[in-house]
């Protein structure tokens, strides 16, 4: 047996079932020598240590119960210091069951594995730990990276959000301002209007008057500021919409120059308008904005010019020439919509563009002021930029004007910039892209006076104006000469008119300077010309009384020449009277520009024609009438400031109610009306009377103002009933009578002070037979400001109301119509009463019957006069009955006055 297990140094032994060792693979004895006989040794007692340990181990583990058939296979029994495989097998022999056990050290079977196992385990564990650690590290890194990215993203989002919010709030502000514009201006307008009224008050002391005037100036300044800011914000918020209407550009600019001339004269600055003849008469665009542009520019010039002149030049260019020259250069500079159109138009210009022609209108504002530093030429157009920080202090202003100008110019398809000029001052050049209507034959009527033999002698102070005017007069074919002061004038006059007689010729000759001499000589060469002498009133010495002498002097020549006088806005009436007495009827206001000059010339020509017994066509008369109206217009300079944002606002509301242009048009219409209705057959008279009107309106600035508030506020503030008092001053008020009555009712004091004047101006017909009730209700309603007519039964009520249709015929004679004069067409539309209070129970004809009758009579017309029933019954059937016959509301007796008032108000507001 040894050989079996020797290879692995294991042991094998056989035992009996009891455990007696039968055979081993070792040399250990199997028998013990005991006293009696040799005994078998138990396996557990054998000398061989391993076997012994093995047996003992088995015994320990399994006990002695090595039952037959039980096989034990143990893989690692620890015997001593080694691990052993122990396997047992069972030999079931008949007479001797044998259990065999094999003990093999583990080392030989799994030895290597055991060795390696540990190492492997260690390695595995360490490896997995490493991996774990690395994994964690990786995760950390990853998450770090991701979280950073998330953070960055979050920041980006929040930045974007913040920016969006900032932009939105900016937008909101602009929008808010733009929306608020009306709200902000209304109180200002009210303030100014009220101040105007105050100024016209006779009972002010000098101090008060000065104070009020000062307040008014400040208010206008504030309003101007407000308008500027609102304009800007409106433009920024994109709400500026340019109107597209036809207007006469020349006229607008002339009006503007007129307006500014007053200021100019005060500053000793000359304002000259020099528009070329080929400028189109009518253009399409937003007249108010165009005027605003120039108003801003000119007012800037005036602000900064203390002497010299301000010239507004204009000329135009055809679109395609402009295109060729600038198309490629300025492409990028074109900021607005015209850009894509330009390309198209570049191709189609000269072709028959039936609709509109685009014209490039160039303008220049040239002044001799303090100039702008070349470095600032670009930045002055920025908002709130002023060339010199001290400007605000010295001149006031916000620095917004040029910004607005530039925005508007750009919007109109043009550009503006400051140009270099020789000499001191500023030259601003801009061009606008405007459409001219297709009937372009309507260019400035080419006036041609070549055929007429006219000589014009200009005696004007302002050299610039004179030069410009004489150049133009040359161009249109007139001989012209100019003098600049009184002495020269006298000399020239003497020379010209005594030339034929050759008296004093010598003396006079020497004192004239060269150019003048040559001019005079030219004139002398002409054959029997018509002389027109345009004299500036400033040539007369107005400080002393010499002017009368001077006028007398001119009398000598009055037969030979026609004198036209250029008056200032503040020329006194006395002078005008004097001039008129002497037969000088041609009077125009400074400044002198083309339209006026043409007008003068035409007048003279026409007069000549008249004198030659020619019939002047009415059309011409009408035209010159228009011219008259125009030239005699004098707009109070303090009102020009408000020309701007208001206008486009109003335009947006569908009416052009702007103060300046509105006044221009309104006054034109008014003066035209006055002219056509009440005046002249001949030109002279016409001019005189208009000069009168002009004089009066200029003399008495107070009178002008109520005109303006009424026409202005009448439309601007329909809501503000408190304005009512204005209209009563004005004769040609267009207000409804309700407002004019309210002023008279305001005097009634009342205890319901909070409701004072609630029913102002309402005409109420009260049909009530109970005298007490009649009286009470009447007093009650009159306290509230209504006018009450009381009748005693239904029949009278119906009759009272049935007078309405015949109202139209008897408008002026009917007694109840107070507060109306002339032009009111409104009364024809509204019934005589605003409301009827109808008692239901009345003799002769009760309330129900009366209402039925009234409604029947109304059925043809569109009226529906509110009828309120007064009934003592308070049942629902009564209510139904009232409504059935056509009543609008009902009150129960005794009357709750508050309820009555509120009912009346609600019913009349609806119909109002």
């Amino acid at each position: 047996m040894r050989e079996l297990v020797e290879v692995h140094s294991g042991y094998i032994y056989l035992t009996s079932q009891e455990g007696y060792l039968l055979a081993t693979s070792t040399n250990a004895p199997l028998l013990t020598n005991s006293s009696t006989r040799p005994n078998l040794i138990m396996a557990v007692d054998t000398e061989e240590p391993i076997i012994r340990m093995g047996a003992r181990w088995l015994e320990k583990v399994y006990g002695n119960k090595l039952t037959p058939g039980q096989i034990v296979q143990v893989e690692n029994a620890k015997l001593g210091d080694q691990q052993y495989y122990i396997d047992s097998f069972f030999l079931n022999l008949k007479r001797l069951p044998i259990v065999g056990v094999i003990i093999i050290p583990r080392r030989y079977i799994m030895g290597k594995v055991d060795e390696r196992a540990f190492k492997t385990l260690v390695i595995l564990i360490s490896a997995s730990l490493c991996i774990l650690v690395i994994g964690c590290v990786c995760i950390l890194i990853l998450t770090n990276g991701v979280s950073k990215e998330m953070k960055l993203r979050a920041e980006l989002i929040s930045h974007l959000d913040a920016r969006r919010r900032a932009e939105a709030s900016n937008n909101y502000k602009s929008q808010f301002l733009a929306n608020m514009s009306h709200e902000l201006r209304t109180p200002m307008a009210a303030v100014i209007g009220l101040l105007d009224i105050l100024i016209c008050d006779d009972c002010l002391t000098n101090e008060q008057y000065a104070t009020v005037t000062q307040i008014r100036k400040c208010s206008t300044a504030l309003l101007r500021l407000l308008n500027n800011i609102l304009d800007l914000s409106k433009v920024e918020s994109g709400k500026l919409v340019l109107e597209d209407a036809e207007f006469d550009l020349g006229r607008e600019l002339e009006g503007l120059i007129d307006m500014f001339s007053v200021q100019c004269i005060n500053h000793n600055v000359e304002a000259v308008l020099d528009l070329s003849d080929d400028m189109p008469k009518l253009v399409r665009g937003d007249s108010a904005r165009v005027v605003q542009i120039f108003a801003n520019l000119i007012s800037n010039s005036i602000k900064f010019t203390t002497t010299g002149h301000i010239i507004l030049r204009g000329w135009c260019e055809n679109f395609n020439t402009f295109n060729d020259a600038r198309f490629h250069l300025d492409q990028k500079k074109m900021r607005c919509a015209p850009k894509p159109k330009l390309r198209q138009q570049g191709n189609h210009t000269k072709k028959a563009w039936k609709k509109d022609n685009k014209m490039i209108l160039w303008f220049e504002i040239d002044d001799t002021g303090c100039g702008i530093d070349p470095g600032k030429w670009e930045s002055v157009f920025e908002s709130f930029e002023q060339a010199d920080p001290s400007t605000t202090r010295l001149h006031g202003g916000t620095g917004l004007g040029l910004c607005i100008v530039r925005t508007l110019v750009n919007k109109m398809g043009g550009e503006i910039k400051v140009e270099k000029k020789n000499g001191s001052g500023t030259l601003m050049r801009l061009y606008l892209l405007l459409n001219t209507p297709a009937d372009g034959a309507d260019l400035h009527c080419q006036v041609d006076f070549h055929s007429q033999n006219i000589v014009v002698l200009l005696a004007l102070y302002g050299s610039m104006g004179r030069v410009v005017m004489s150049q133009w007069l040359h161009k249109i074919g007139l001989t012209t000469s100019g003098v600049s002061d009184w002495n020269e004038l006298t000399q020239v006059l003497r020379k010209l008119f005594h030339a034929r007689r050759r008296e004093n010729g010598f003396d006079v000759n020497c004192s004239l300077n060269e150019p003048l001499k040559s001019e005079v000589r030219n004139i002398e060469d002409m054959k029997d010309p018509v002389f027109i002498i345009v004299v500036d009133i400033g040539l007369l010495d107005l400080s002393t009384d010499i002017w009368k002498e001077q006028i007398n002097f001119l009398d000598k020549f009055s037969g030979k020449a026609k004198f036209a006088w250029m008056l200032n806005h503040d020329t006194s009436n006395a002078i005008k009277m004097e001039l008129r007495k002497k037969g000088h009827l041609l009077m125009v206001n400074k400044p002198l520009y083309k339209a006026k000059m043409i007008h003068i010339l035409e007048t003279v020509v026409k007069e000549k024609d008249l004198e030659h017994q020619k019939q002047s066509p009415d059309a011409a008369r009408a035209k010159t009438k228009d011219g008259d109206m125009h030239e005699c217009l004098e707009i109070d300079s303090t009102h020009f400031d408000t020309a701007s944002s208001e206008e486009s606002d109003m335009a947006e509301m569908g009416k052009s109610n702007s103060p300046s242009t509105f006044h221009l048009r309104e006054k034109r219409r008014e003066t035209e009306k006055m002219a056509t209705e009440s005046q002249c057959q001949s030109f002279k008279k016409c001019l005189v009377e208009l000069a009168n009107v002009d004089a009066e309106s200029r003399e008495d600035p107070c009178q002008i103002r109520p005109n303006l508030p009424s026409t202005q506020y009448g439309k601007d503030m329909p809501v503000c009933n408190k304005q009512a008092p204005f209209s009563t001053q004005n004769e040609s008020s267009k207000h409804e009578e309700r407002i004019s009555e309210s002023s008279s009712h305001k005097e009634q004091g009342n205890s319901y002070s909070s409701k004072a004047g609630n029913l102002d101006g309402l005409r109420i017909l009260l049909a009530e037979d109970t005298p007490v009730l009649q009286r009470v209700a009447t007093i009650m309603l009159e306290k509230m400001g209504a006018k009450v007519i009381a009748v005693g039964d239904g029949l009278q009520a119906v009759e009272a109301l049935n007078c309405i249709p015949s109202e139209k015929d008897f408008k002026r004679e009917s007694p109840g119509d107070d507060g109306e004069r002339g032009l009111q067409t409104d009364i024809q539309d509204s019934p005589r009463y605003d409301l009827v209070l109808m008692d239901c129970q009345m003799p002769k004809m009760d309330g129900y019957e009366a209402t039925k009758a009234i409604r029947k009579s109304e059925s043809g017309t569109g009226f529906h006069i509110p009828i309120v029933a007064l009934t003592a019954h308070a049942m629902s059937s009564d209510e139904a009955k009232c409504l059935e016959v056509g009543m609008d509301a009902y009150l129960t007796k005794p009357i709750d006055y508050k309820l009555m008032v509120s009912t009346i108000l609600s019913l009349t507001k609806r119909t109002a």
């Binding site: 004091g749 007093i779 306290k783």
Partner: protein, 154 residues
């Protein structure tokens, strides 16, 4: 009496009239309507009321004395009387009128006659009261004081 005393008397008297149901809130409204521009408003209205009422009562008496009573007419008169008395605030009279009308509808002659008596009684009562009030007011005004309306609301 001096002005203050008279004013106090006036206030007390007016309050009593309200308390006893002779006048109601409507009268107060009328009083409020009186001011500098209508200084005699209340007196005016009251006298109008008296005139009107006399006429109405006379008419009523006449109609009810007839053989064939025309209840429609009676009704119309009573309606008017009710209207004017309610608008002046003569509460008792108004209530009587209401009762009167009911009897009218029933065509109850007895009831109507009784009501007429009642109405007349109450009317004369309120008339004398109002006359006294107006006299007091006139005295106050004559003495240079003003009628303390505002005290009534307290």
């Amino acid at each position: 009496m001096e002005v203050g005393q008279m004013q106090r008397a006036w206030v007390e008297y007016t309050r009593s009239l309200f308390r006893e149901g002779f006048l109601d809130a409507q009268f107060q409204q009328l009083q409020l309507l009186q001011d500098e521009s209508n200084p005699d408003f209340v007196a005016e209205v009251v006298s109008l009321f008296f005139e009107d009422s006399e006429r109405l009562l006379a008419d009523l008496t006449f109609v009810l004395e007839q053989q064939n009573i025309d209840f429609k007419k009676v009704d119309a008169h009573v309606h008017q009387f009710k209207g004017s008395s309610s608008s002046i605030g003569a509460q008792r009279v108004k209530n009587d009128c209401i009762a009167f009308r009911n009897f009218c509808e029933e065509q109850n002659i007895e009831g109507c006659l009784r009501c007429l008596q009642q109405v007349k009684q109450d009317y004369y009562l309120v008339k004398s009261k109002l006359e006294a009030l107006i006299r007091l007011e006139q005295q106050i005004v004559a003495a240079g004081g003003s009628i303390p309306m505002e005290e009534l609301s307290s």
